[in-house]
């Protein structure tokens, strides 16, 4: 009984705000709506068929590619950063970790608008590059896929750094010494010991970056200028503008499907490299 009380709030929260909406989306995806957005109570696979239209598939593919590039860049930037933090003297580590999450303390929209200022054709980046003489005419950085990736990367990089830092910090330095003692060069130690043992941390970070990047619709809209349509924008439009809820639900479920596959993959890979074997 006591346990139920403790579980209660979380359970209630998850049921009302997570499980019920998901169930609703699954249910709606099998319905059809008329031109005015009213649902017809008749089971049909029509929306699933429509979702297979190359138009939607292309949007989905673009989204996966953009979120994928963002995640890859986050790993490449996050790993050395997390490594450097883990090697700082203990009292500096906390300071730097706070600096890493500091941007989260300001409003997300404000930070994204700052990127608009930065990437603008009249903005400082374009200006400096012209001043140095690297380019001749103002550079169109804003409203490109690159701008979307930069915005996503900026927003979610801390979510990569933190789990990586934990994984690197937890790694027993004697394991690296043991590898060198057995004849491995520094590079070989990294490839055979450090990397595989911090991979679970990198995978957690990858999920943390990929998931919100894939479904994001604010950053593509503000920095992509509506030219780079991601699946998040499409779903939002189908729900709110076109009012085709069944199609929107199917598209939402497609993201959910991708994420589910990724989570399974992540847990499989992590288990392979986990210190404690489960087989």
């Amino acid at each position: 009984m006591g346990r139920l009380l403790l579980l209660g709030p979380g359970l209630l929260y998850l049921t009302v705000l997570f499980l019920l909406p998901i169930a609703a989306i699954v249910g709606i995806s099998f319905l059809e709506s008329n031109r005015f957005g009213q649902l017809r109570w008749e089971v049909t696979f029509a929306s699933f068929e429509r979702a297979l239209d190359p138009l939607y598939l292309r949007v989905l593919a673009t989204s996966v590619v953009i979120a994928g590039i963002t995640t890859l860049l986050a790993v490449l930037i996050g790993y050395p950063t997390a490594w450097a933090i883990a090697r700082l003297p203990p009292r500096w580590r906390l300071v730097v970790l706070i600096l890493v999450v500091l941007p989260f303390w300001t409003n997300f929209l404000v930070r994204t608008y700052a990127w608009i200022v930065l990437l603008n054709t009249e903005g400082p980046i374009s200006g400096v590059l012209q001043g140095v003489g690297l380019i001749e005419s103002p550079l169109q950085l804003l409203y490109t896929p690159g701008a979307v990736i930069a915005g996503l990367l900026y927003a979610y990089l801390p979510l990569m750094i933190l789990p990586l830092y934990v994984a690197i910090d937890r790694l027993d330095p004697e394991l690296r010494e043991a590898a060198r003692d057995l004849g491995a060069s520094r590079a070989r130690v990294f490839l055979t010991v450090t990397l595989p043992m911090t991979l679970p941390g990198a995978l957690v970070g990858a999920i943390f970056v990929f998931v919100p990047s894939l479904g994001n619709f604010v950053i593509p809209e503000l920095l992509g200028g509506g030219k780079t349509v991601m699946i998040g924008n499409l779903i939002r439009d189908q729900f709110l503008k076109t009012r085709n809820w069944p199609l929107a639900s199917v598209l939402a479920l497609s993201i959910l499907g991708i994420l589910l596959v990724l989570l399974i993959l992540q847990s499989r890979l992590s288990r392979r490299y986990a210190p404690v074997s489960h087989d």
Binding site: D172, L175, E177, D181, G183, R188, S277
Partner: protein
């Protein structure tokens, strides 16, 4: 191969009496802490050598210098005549068995053991053959495919040992190899390590704080205290001829009497001159007399004696008995060990005597 350090198969390029490992005037400080102070040491081919001392005495620092994870501030280390300090850890013909074992948790036992051989670029079938062979030698063939987390403490210790000896290093370093094992397994492993050392013919340097462990395994022992070597000797000599008060206290039990050197022995306040072995110390120098409890004989009335006292307490320890004797004029009870059970009762008057050659003179600190 031209590099003499890497010539692991051939005979050392130095004459037989030259040491395999020569440590010369090595010092190392960490901030204000002097971990090693002017340490010099010779270790011979095929020796089982122990670095013994309390924690923080510098023995582990020396081990890490030999492995290549620390660098001395001053001094030199040569192995087979070649400069060892010039080589990074991965190129030294030296392997270290870590106190924590440091087994790779993401690899199976055989992958752990094969790791070092793979780094040498040996052909796959040779790696496999040597891994299988070494697992057999240490007696854990059946665990080859398991992960370290699935092994018992004793099995893990054997994996760590196998991983370190499979490369056939010229020098095997063992950092507190038995400290993580429970008492019973530890006794077995002491014998096992000794057997292995003979079988594989590798020079062993073991770091330990456990004097019994060092005494039972090592051919020679270096006793460390506060970064300095107190004495390097065979276990028997360390026991019978300690050269410092620290060694006398650290190794086994000793009855210790403070006094000053007098002709024929040591003058102890309240007891007169006690006979000792000959000493180089000048008459009048402050010194200690140290004698093992089993080297003191108890004699009855009328027999010649050095001291007279009264039995305070007796303790039967199975194979031997310890008798605490209160000597008039001296505060600390003198401990005497006798084989078997004793018939002495508390309060009995006894005489104490010893062979002066057994009583060691130790310089005051």
């Amino acid at each position: 191969m031209t590099d003499p350090v890497h010539d692991a198969t051939g005979a050392p390029p130095t004459p037989d009496d030259a040491p395999l490992l020569a440590v010369r005037s090595v010092s190392r400080s960490f901030g204000d802490v002097r971990a090693l102070v002017d340490v010099s040491l010779d270790i011979r081919q095929n020796e089982f050598f122990a670095l013994l001392g309390p924690s923080g005495c510098g023995k582990t620092t020396l081990l890490r210098i030999l492995a290549g994870f620390e660098h001395p501030d001053t001094g030199s280390v040569t192995l087979g005549g070649a400069d060892l300090l010039a080589l990074p850890p991965e190129r030294r013909p030296v392997n270290l068995m870590f106190q924590s074992y440091a087994l790779f948790p993401h690899m199976s036992v055989e992958r752990n053991v094969a790791y070092g051989l793979e780094r040498e670029g040996l052909p796959k079938d040779e790696v496999q053959a040597r891994v299988a062979e070494v697992l057999r030698v240490v007696g854990i063939s059946e665990t080859a495919r398991r992960r370290p987390s699935q092994l018992s403490g004793g099995q893990r210790q054997r994996v760590a040992l196998a991983r370190a000896i499979v490369k056939r290093p010229r020098l095997l370093l063992l950092d507190e190899p038995l400290s993580a094992l429970d008492r019973k397994v530890r006794g077995e492993m002491q014998l096992e390590l000794k057997r292995l050392q003979h079988e594989v013919g590798i020079t062993f340097v073991v770091v330990t704080h456990d004097q019994e462990e060092a005494m039972s395994m090592a051919d020679r022992i270096a006793v460390f205290q506060r970064g300095r070597i107190e004495q390097v000797d065979r276990p028997v000599m360390l026991y019978e001829r300690p050269r410092s008060l620290f060694v006398a206290r650290f190794i086994g039990n000793n009855d210790l009497f403070p006094g000053t050197i007098a002709p024929g022995g040591l003058e102890v306040a309240g007891l007169g001159v006690l006979p000792t072995a000959e000493s180089e110390l000048a008459v009048g120098t402050a010194a200690w007399l140290g004698i093992r409890p089993e080297h003191i004989a108890l004699v009855g009335e009328g027999a010649p004696r050095i001291l007279t006292g009264e039995v305070i307490e007796t303790q039967f320890l199975g194979g031997a008995s310890t008798i605490a004797v209160g000597v008039s004029g001296y505060e600390t009870p003198v401990l005497v060990t006798q084989a078997g059970a004793t018939r002495l009762e508390r309060g009995a008057t006894v005489g104490l005597t010893w062979d002066p050659a057994r009583a060691v003179v130790l310089p005051s600190e």
